[in-house]
Symmetry: C2
């Protein structure tokens, strides 16, 4: 089976690019002396997670308990669920732990820490919990110097049903950096903040074994991770246009694309219409407003070569509207109705989520493998 | 099982609102003397499609062949696939037709019409094809007065493997109307354009049985559909914030919401964080830039009452960031970590697509039914 035989829209993964992206991040973690704990939320696929540990079952980060269950089914044993835990979700966590998984969860509230401990004690379990740290006002977590940090850490350490496993942060504001220099600075700020949080916990006489940080930009540009034990990053496996716009990767490093079919020509509007709309590409518009605006995606030919000047201007539910970025006339003869194109995504995590599987190519147009992914919660 | 027992994020459908939304559109079609052919792309769920024909199997519109297959499995026999057909997809269409489905497809190119006819002749099939008409420069289709319209119609009529089944349009630009008056005008413009296309085809000595038009705004506000045979609309079943912003419905008519759990308080940023992020809500931001900006959604309590002044400011992959629209202080005691909220979506079609099923409520917090939906292609 080749690309031309696939029903569109569908996902294509270029295995050479995927392999190269993963090798670079593995080399970076190795150089900095930290464990790479990939965030599998991007690909949500066992073969990709295995590649991240050189073909082995390694430590992973998940964004949903569904992912934890799916990867546990495949034999993954060391998992951090990196979204704030609430007591109502403990039943599923308990089942995962009872299958032999070393599952670690995160909280940023002493009250919730206590509730989780009470639940653990009731079920004769000791849940491993990390404290989420906020290093850049991006999302959840406690500031490294907040007095509540010690309250939460102590509640976890003293609780009969919990064990304080460490600290975790995600420097998500690095997505707003404009230059490589700013990303290097964001990485160093992430390191100093997370290690200060760990030091503050230890200074209070409490343990802090795992010191976990990361985002694809800061993981890529970190120069020193002294005091950090592990590095998390997700989108690096595929990369995407948003990352290319940041300078984290080159457009040619993007391993994921949506295969689509030209279904209509609107010559009076200088538009090609394809069958990859908002459902297939997602409505992520994250490059908009930047000087790297790619609309809903850039266009490549079947070989993966980017066709300069074309982009997805609009995305209705099942229609993608392609036009030229500078208003120049499209040569419609190059793109007959029925021919196929590949669309590079703004945001790989969101785009991949519409699909159940990846079609893998490796140097030719032959589909060498199909890999499943898990969606939902 | 009640709302409080559900694992979040998940979809909730208020059956009373759904029933009322459908009753209104059925009454509108009846009043105007046209067949209602709901576009099932929004709910993608058999029970909802059945409600649209008063509990019966009625005519439907689909946006993917996967939907056509799913609804064929449930006994639906009269289906229009309303995305431009290409020859490479005919194999699946043929299988659907061979199951006894009266499947109609659309094209806007004489060359493709000929290719489909050749394929039909080869497989001893006569494919029913409609010509897509462009009434407002929104997407695909031919202008009602374009000479190519007659070329395509004639190719379909004369082709050994095709039958000219009619004309179809979607007045998608009605989504950009600002007032009820503009929507009434858009509906009338849609009617005059599609009936002119039909008249032009008939004037050329060709048949044009089906004259199909619609969008939720034009279907809602049409005053007269003389010459039109059927009305299509999709999102009306659930409605959403974008439609409420247009004035097509009231916010209290929105039947779909995402149930979510509060997972963190960021008091220093006046934010509540929930477990419904971009994956659960979609990245659709279609109310942005309007005077009805709802961020990524408005917030309701467990009873479905909208909590004034709160909205989803940001949507990371699995985190929703809620704050107040006017900067006023959130009363965090009202929304403890672990408590649940319901989020009204900007765009119901996109939001529902992340989920496999709907949890139905009908006047209380009890889940009375769960309905499956079909995703993908």
């Amino acid at each position: 089976m080749t690309l031309d035989d696939l029903y569109t829209p569908c996902l294509i993964v270029d295995k050479k690019k995927l392999t190269n992206n993963i090798a670079k991040m593995r080399a970076q973690a190795s150089k900095l002396g930290v464990t790479l704990r990939p965030h599998v939320k991007t690909a949500k696929s066992v073969p990709v997670a295995l590649m991240c540990a050189g073909g082995a079952v390694g430590p992973i980060t998940v964004s949903t308990l569904r992912e934890a269950e799916y990867f546990a089914d495949a034999g993954f044993k060391d998992i951090i669920y990196a979204v704030s835990m609430v007591p109502a979700k403990l039943d599923r966590a308990k089942d995962i732990i009872d299958r032999g998984v070393d599952l670690k969860m995160i909280v940023d509230s002493a009250e919730i820490a206590k509730q989780i401990s009470d639940a653990g004690a009731k079920y004769h379990r000791v849940y491993k919990i990390m404290v989420e740290i906020d290093v850049d006002m991006h999302r959840a977590g406690l500031s490294p110097d907040a007095p509540e940090l010690i309250d939460v850490a102590r509640a976890l350490h003293d609780g009969a049903g919990t064990e304080l496993a460490g600290v975790l942060t995600h420097a998500g504001e690095s997505y707003h950096c404009k230059t490589k220099k700013e990303m290097i600075a964001a990485a160093e700020a992430e390191r100093t903040s997370i290690t200060r949080a760990a030091d503050n916990i230890r200074a209070a006489g409490l343990p802090c074994e795992i010191v976990s940080c990361g985002s694809t930009p800061t993981a890529t540009f970190a120069k020193d991770l002294t005091g950090v034990t592990e590095l998390r990053a997700g989108v690096f496996v595929f990369n995407d246009l948003f990352q290319a716009g940041l300078g984290v990767c080159d457009k040619d490093d993007i391993a994921l694309s949506v295969l689509t079919t030209v279904i209509s020509h609107k010559k009076n509007q200088n538009r090609i219409i394809t069958d990859a709309g908002g459902m297939a590409l997602s409505k992520d518009h994250s490059t908009r407003g930047t000087d790297f605006d790619c609309g809903y995606g850039l266009i490549a030919d079947m070989s993966g070569h980017i066709i300069g000047n074309l982009y997805v201007l609009g995305a209705n539910q099942e229609h993608g509207l392609i036009t030229s970025q500078d208003g120049s006339k499209i040569d419609f003869h190059r793109f007959p109705i029925g021919s196929k194109l590949r669309i590079l995504p703004n945001h790989a995590c969101m785009t991949a989520a519409a699909f159940d599987q990846y079609n893998i190519i490796d140097g030719t147009d032959e589909i060498t493998e199909t890999w499943q992914r898990c969606n939902g919660w």
